[in-house]
Symmetry: C5
Subunit: 356 residues, 5 copies
C-alpha cells in the first residue's frame, strides 16, 4: 500500500476554493518544457514553445497539432494554458493532481482524459508510473506529463512518414495512437511481473522460507495498484468510444474499441497473476500443514517408543534393597526381551495408523 | 462496532406517529445557535438570529442566504423551522435523528441532503463525526449541525471576497462548496488512518504480538464505519447532479460531479486500506504457521536425538546382578561410540529432510 | 437453522390443487377473532364481528375501515373472507401459509402484502415472529395475524385523536402506519441482539472458551434469519411505493419511501452485526494460533534445555566398572559446569530466536 | 460431483450433425409407453396409444389433451413425434439428452420446457431425479419422461372432477399444475435433507469424528446439484410468465408467478442449508483448534513440571565418587523440598498464564 | 499460469503502428496451406489454392464457399487476404495474434469471430489449444487456423451429402456447424478432466500425500484457463445470435442460441469441477487437522503417563546415603502400586476427556 509521502498528501487542498490549481506530487524544480508538433509544407515540424501566448491563435490551426507539456508542478503555467485554451478550472485541477484516478470528461468542445503511463522502471513496487492528461480540442491535442522523458518516440518517428495514418487521420487518431502505445506498454510490465512470479514459484519449490512469502505479497500489492490504474481507464475508454462526441471520428472510434479490448486482456492477465499469488499462498499453507504434521509424527514415534522403555530401565535403576528381579539370572535378558516386544508392538501400531 | 449508548437508541421512537420529531443522539443542554449570513450592500453580513419568526419573509430574499443552526436536540426549535420554511415532517424527523444514513431527498421546491462531517478528532475509533443536514430552497440554504464548531471557516473567509464564486453563483454553489470541504476533510482522516496502519505494519515487523492484531481490528472497524458513511453519500451526490432539479444550476452540477469523483477516490483508498488490513492478518497467520513449524522442528530434533540416548544410558544404569557388558573393559567406550553413531545418523536423517 | 417442526412442513400441500387453502403453522384451537374499526359520527368505533356475512357491504363503506383477524388456522373462515371480499385463491393460500416469505402482489383493486412481525420475545433464536398479511382494498384494510395480541395498540390509541393523520388520510396511510410500527420494532430487536453481541465480546475477552463460540454461532444464525425477513420486505416496499397503484396516494408513497429507508438501515445494522460475528471468530482463531504457539514455545524451551542435561546425568549414572571420570576428584563439578554451559548456550539460542 | 458413467457422456454426440437425436442417459430396454388423456362426453378418457400415427389429427382437437411418453431412449419414436407434431429438431435433441439443464424455449406455436423431476428416492446423493420435458402446443400438452412411474397421480385424480380448474382451464393450466406438483415435491426433498443435516449436527455434537465430515460434504454436494436444478428452472419459469406468449392465458400466468415464488423459496432454503454446512465445518475447525490447544496444554504442563524434576533426580543418581550432597544427612529431604518448590513455582506460572 | 514463452510475448508489438500485422505465437516454417471448398454441379469440390489472387472474384460467388487457411505466421499472406477480401487491419491484427481472447466483431459486410479450438491433446495443462478465426462475408466463410490438422473432418464428410443442411443452408450455417463442433469437443475435454479429478480423489482417499495436492492445483489452473476460453466466447456467441446482422439467417440464429446453451452447460461443468477441487483441498486440510490432532493425542497420552512415572523411578535411583524408603521391605511394591495408581488415574482422566 505504501502510504504516500508527505508531498503527495491530497489534504493540502482542504479548504481552498474548488478548482484551485494546487500541485499534488513530489517533483520540484525547473524541468517544464513545451513542445509543439505541427504539419508544415515540408513535413512535420517540432518547435519548443517558450510562451503560452504564442499558442492563442489555435482557432485558426488545421491538421496535426500536438502540444506536449513536461512537468505539471508549475501551476502558473498550467493556469496560463487554461486561459489560452479556455479550459475549465476543474480540468486544470485534475491535471496538476498527480494522484488523480484515470477518467474521461467531455466538455462543450474539449475531451479531457487522464491516465497513468507506466515505464520499464515501473517493476519496482512503489512506482505507479507518471500521470498523463490529454485534452482533445477542435484543432489541437494537448498532453501534460509529470516528468520529462516518455515512451512516445516511436510515434514521433512514424509521424515523419507522410503516408502514416497519423498524418492523414487528425488529432483524434493521434490521441488514440498515444493511448494505444501506453496500453501496449502495460503488457510489457505485466510480462515482467509474470517473470518475477515464475521465479518466485521456482524459489518456492526449492525452499519454502518466509522470504518468498514477503516477496509474493509485494507482487500482489503491485498487481492491486495496477488494477486500480487499469479498471477506471477501461471504463473511461469505453465512454469515449460509445459516446457520440463529434471530436472523435467513427474510424477512430473503431480503434478505441480495440484499445478497450486490450485493456480487458490486461485485466484478465492481472487476474490470472492474482489467482497465481493466492494459490501459491494456499499451497504454501497446505504444505506447511503437511510438514508440521510430518514433524509431529517423527517426534511422536520416537518419543512414544522410547519414553516407556526409559521408564522400564529406570525401574531397574532403583536402589531398593528388596528387588528380587535384580538378582535373577535371567532378569537382564528378560527386560531386554520385554522392551523389544514393547517397541515392536508400538511400531506395528504406527504401521496400522499409516504413520510409517 | 461499538453498540450504541442508550441515548442513541433508535427504538425510543417506536410507536410514535410517523414524522414525530424525536431527537436521537447524546447531546443535551443549551448550545442552540442560529447564524444567518446574507449579502448586504457593504459585503457579507453575519447575524445571530434569536427567533425563527424573523426568518419568515424568505420568499422575498435574494442572493446568498445561509442559515446555520448548531444543535439539533431542541426539537421545538426544529419544528418552528419546519413551520417557517414549510419543511415536510419526514425531513424534520431525519434532521434530529443523528443516526440517519446519508441521503438526498427532493421535494417540490426543496432539496434535502444529510451527511456526516468528520473532524480531525475523528481518528478515534468510535467517533463517526457529527451529522449535518442541508435544505436548499429557492432563496436560502439551511444547515443543521449537531454540535457548535465546524470546519467551514475557510468558506466564511472566502465569502468576504466579492470576486469569489461563492458570491456570484448562488446558494446551490454554496451547498456544493460546503459538501466539497467536508469531503476534502475525509482525505485528511484517511491519511491519518494510513499513517496509523503504516506504524502498525512497522510494529508488526518488529514484533509479532497479539497487541497489534487488536489494534489492526480496531482500524478495520473504523474503515467499515467510514465506508458506511461514504457509500450512501456517493449515491446521494450522484442523484443530486444527475436529476434535473431546477434548484441546482448546470454549472454547479459539474462541480457536484467532481465531488462524486472525489468520493469514488475516497472509496478506493478505503478499499486499499481494508485490503492492507486483511493482508496483514493473513501474513500474520502464515508467519505464525512458519514459526510454530520452526519451534516444532527444534523440539523434535533435540528430543529425537536425546530420548534414545537417554534410554541407552538408562539401560546401563540398571542394577541387575548379571549384566556382562558392565564388567567389560570396553563397555563404556563402546556405549559412547554407539551413541555418537546414533546421534550422527539422526542428524543425517534431519539433514536429508531439510530440517537442519 | 432449526429444521422445522413437523407441523410447519410445507410438503403437506404437495399434490393438492393449487390455491388450496391449507394452514401451514403450529397453532391450533379456537383463538380466531375478527375486529372491525370504523369511523363513526362520534369518533372511532371498534366492534367484534361474529360473522363474515356482516362485512359483505364493503362497496358502500367510506373512510377508515380496518378489519383485523387474529388466527389464520381456521381455513374455512379465511375462505369465507375470500368469497366476501373477492380475494384471489393464491392470496388466501399465502395468508394461511405461515412460512411465506415477505412479498407484495397487486391485483385489480387489491394490494396484498405479507411480512413478519417480530416481538420483544423474538430475541430467542428460533423465533422469527408471526406472519402478518395485509389486503388493501378500495374501501378497507384487512389484516390477518397468526396469533392474538400485537404491537398495534399505539396506533389504536392515536386513531382516537380526530386530528391524527390516521383519521384524515385514509386506509392506505393506515397500512403505512402499521408497517412503520413493525419496522420500528425491528430496530428494537436489533438493539437487543447488539447488546447480546457486546456481552459475548466482553465474555470472550475475559475467557476464550468454546461456549462463547457456540453462542456466537446462534446469534449469527438469528441474524441470517432476520436478513431473510428484511431483504424481501425491502424489495416489496420498494415495489409498493414505485408502482403507480391508484389505491395508494402520492403522500402515502412518500411515507412508504421513508419505511424503505429504515429497512435499508436495518440491513446495514444487520451487516455490521454479522461482520462483528465473523471478526470475533477470526480474532478467536488468530488468538488461538498465538496461544498454541506460545504453549509450544514453553514446552520446547523446557524440553530442549533439560532433555540433553538428563542425558548427561544419565551417562554418569551408568554402572560400568571402568568409567575413569567417576573416580576423578573434579568429575562432579566439571559435569555441573558443562551442564550449566550447555543450558546457558541454549538459553542464548532461544534469546536470539526471540522466543524468550 | 460424481463424474458421469460412460453412458451419460455428452461427447458421444461430437461430430454428428446438429439436431442429431442421440439419447444421452443410462436407460435401455423396452419400457416405452404413450398415454393420452382427453376429455370425452363421459368425462376424462385415458388411452394407451400404440402408434404415433393416431395422433396426427391434433389440429382438430379441443379441450384437454395430455400425451405422456415414458422412456426417451427410443430415439426413433421421438423422431416420429417430431414429424407428427412438427417439432424443431433442436427440441428433439434436448428431449433425449437427459443431461439437459432446465430451460424454456418458445417457438412459433409451441412452448418447450425441460426440467428435472425429483423423487422421494432422490435423497441418495448421486440421484438428480429424472428429466421431464413439456411441449405445449395449440391443442395439446406433450410430456416426455425418462422412466415410467411419476408423481402425477394426484393430478390424474383431480381431473376426474368436472368442477376442477384442470377441466375448465385448458392445457396451459395443466402444464402449470404439473410444474407446481414437481416444485412442491422439491420442498419434500429439502425437508428430508434438512432432517439429515439435523441428525449430522446432533451426531457432531456427540462425537467429532471425520465420518460426519465426509457425510456433511456429501450433503453439500447434493445441495449444489439441487441448486443447479433449481436456478435455471426459476429463470425459465420467469421467462414463461413474463413473455406475452399467446399459448398461455393471463390467469395461468398468475399461477406461474406463484410457482416462481415457490422456487425462490426453495433457493432460500437451499442457501440456508448450505450456510448450515459451511458453518458446521467452520465450527468443526474452530473446535479442533481448541482441542489441539487443550491437548498441547496438558502435554506441556506435565512435561514442563516433570522433565526438570527428572533431571534433578538424575543428578543424584550419578555414581561419582565425590558427591558431598549424597552423604549429607539432609540431602534427600532437601532435594524433595527443592523439587516440590520447583513444581509449585511452575504450577503458579501456568495459573498466571491461565492454562490451569 | 505458465508464464508465456518468449515468442508469445505480446510486448513485441509495442510501438508499432496500430493494426500492424505481427504474428504472436510460437510456430515457424512453411506449413501454410489454403483450401477452398465450393459447390460444383457434381457436388462439393475441394481445391488447394496456391495464390490469393485466384480468390478476388468473390463478389460473384454463390452457394457454399469455405476457404480455410492453415498457419497464420506468414503475415504477408494474411495481408494479401486482407487486400483481396477488404478486411479491416484490426481484424488482420487479431487473426495473427494467437493470444487473442475470444470475441466477435461486426463490420459492414463481414462478421469476425475468433475462438480457441481445443484438441484431444489438450488435457496437458499448458495447452490451451490453437486459435481459430472466422470471417463470414456475403458469399464466403474464411477460417484461419494456427496449425495444420483440425477436428473438422466430420463436417467435410457431411458436406458430401447433398441432403445435408450444410449444403442447403449457406455459409452462415457452415459457420454455426464449425463452432458447434468445436464446442462439442469442449465436452470431451471436460470429461477427460472429470476422469482425472475422479482418479485424484480416489488416490487422495487411499493416501493423503502432497503429490495429489500438486496434481490438483494443476487441474485447477487448467480449469481456470478453460474458463477464460469459454466465458468470452459465450458472450460473443450471444452477441452473434441477438444482433440483427443480415449475414446470419433467422434459422441459423436459432442454432447459435443452442450453441450458447451448450456453452452455459460447459461453464456449469467447469464450475462443478472447480468446486470439486476447492472442496477436496478443504477436506484435505480438515483431515490434516484431524490427523495432527490424533498424533498429538497419542504423544500426549504416552508422554503424560510415563514422564511422571520415570520421575518416580528416578527418585529411587538416587544414591543418597539416607533414603529410608530404600531399605523398607515394602518400598519396591509400594512404588509399583503408586505408579499403577497414577497411570490408572491418568487413563481415567483421558477417558473423561474422550481422548481414548
Amino acid at each position: 500500500m505504501a502510504p504516500k509521502s508527505k508531498k503527495h498528501r491530497r489534504s493540502k487542498k482542504s479548504g481552498l476554493p474548488p478548482g484551485a490549481i494546487v500541485y499534488i506530487g513530489d517533483l520540484e524544480g525547473d524541468v517544464q518544457a513545451i513542445q509543439r508538433i505541427t504539419e508544415s509544407p515540408d513535413g512535420v515540424e517540432s518547435t519548443i514553445v517558450s510562451d503560452v501566448q504564442h499558442l492563442q491563435d489555435w482557432a485558426s490551426w488545421s491538421g496535426l497539432n500536438w502540444i506536449n507539456v513536461d512537468g505539471i508542478h508549475d501551476t502558473e503555467l498550467i493556469e496560463e494554458f487554461g486561459r489560452a485554451f479556455q479550459i475549465h478550472s476543474l480540468i486544470l485541477e485534475d491535471i496538476v493532481n498527480s494522484e488523480q484516478r484515470p477518467k474521461v470528461e467531455e466538455y462543450v468542445d474539449q475531451v479531457f482524459l487522464t491516465m497513468r503511463m507506466l515505464d520499464h522502471r515501473s517493476t519496482e513496487e512503489s512506482d505507479t508510473g507518471e500521470q498523463i492528461s490529454f485534452i482533445l480540442g477542435p484543432t489541437y491535442l494537448l498532453t501534460f506529463q509529470e516528468r520529462p522523458g516518455d515512451i512516445f518516440d516511436p510515434i514521433r518517428e512514424r509521424m515523419k512518414n507522410p503516408e502514416s495514418r497519423l498524418r492523414t487521420k487528425g488529432n483524434d487518431y493521434l490521441l488514440y495512437a498515444l493511448i494505444d502505445l501506453i496500453v501496449d506498454n502495460y503488457f510489457f510490465i505485466l510480462e515482467n511481473i509474470g517473470d518475477e512470479l515464475e521465479s518466485i514459484e521456482e524459489e518456492f519449490f526449492r525452499d519454502q522460507d518466509s522470504l518468498s512469502l514477503q516477496h509474493l505479497q509485494q507482487r500482489k500489492r503491485q498487481l492491486q495498484q495496477f488494477r486500480r490504474v487499469v479498471n477506471p481507464l477501461r471504463d473511461a475508454i469505453s465512454t469515449l468510444y460509445r459516446d457520440e462526441n463529434p471530436l472523435i471520428s467513427d474510424s477512430t472510434r473503431r480503434y478505441l474499441s480495440d484499445v478497450h479490448d486490450h485493456l480487458i486482456q490486461v485485466q484478465e492477465i492481472l487476474d490470472t497473476h492474482r489467482e497465481f499469488c493466492v494459490e501459491l499462498r494456499e499451497t504454501h499453507l497446505a504444505l506447511l500443514g503437511n510438514r508440521t504434521n510430518e514433524v509431529m509424527k517423527v517426534l511422536t514415534i520416537i518419543a512414544t517408543i522410547f519414553i516407556p522403555l526409559t521408564f522400564i530401565v529406570g525401574v531397574y535403576g532403583m536402589n531398593f534393597d528388596h528387588m528380587p528381579e535384580l538378582h535373577s539370572r535371567w532378569g537382564y535378558p528378560i527386560v531386554w526381551f520385554v522392551m523389544v516386544l514393547c517397541a515392536l508392538g508400538l511400531i506395528r501400531y504406527f504401521r496400522k495408523k499409516n504413520w510409517l
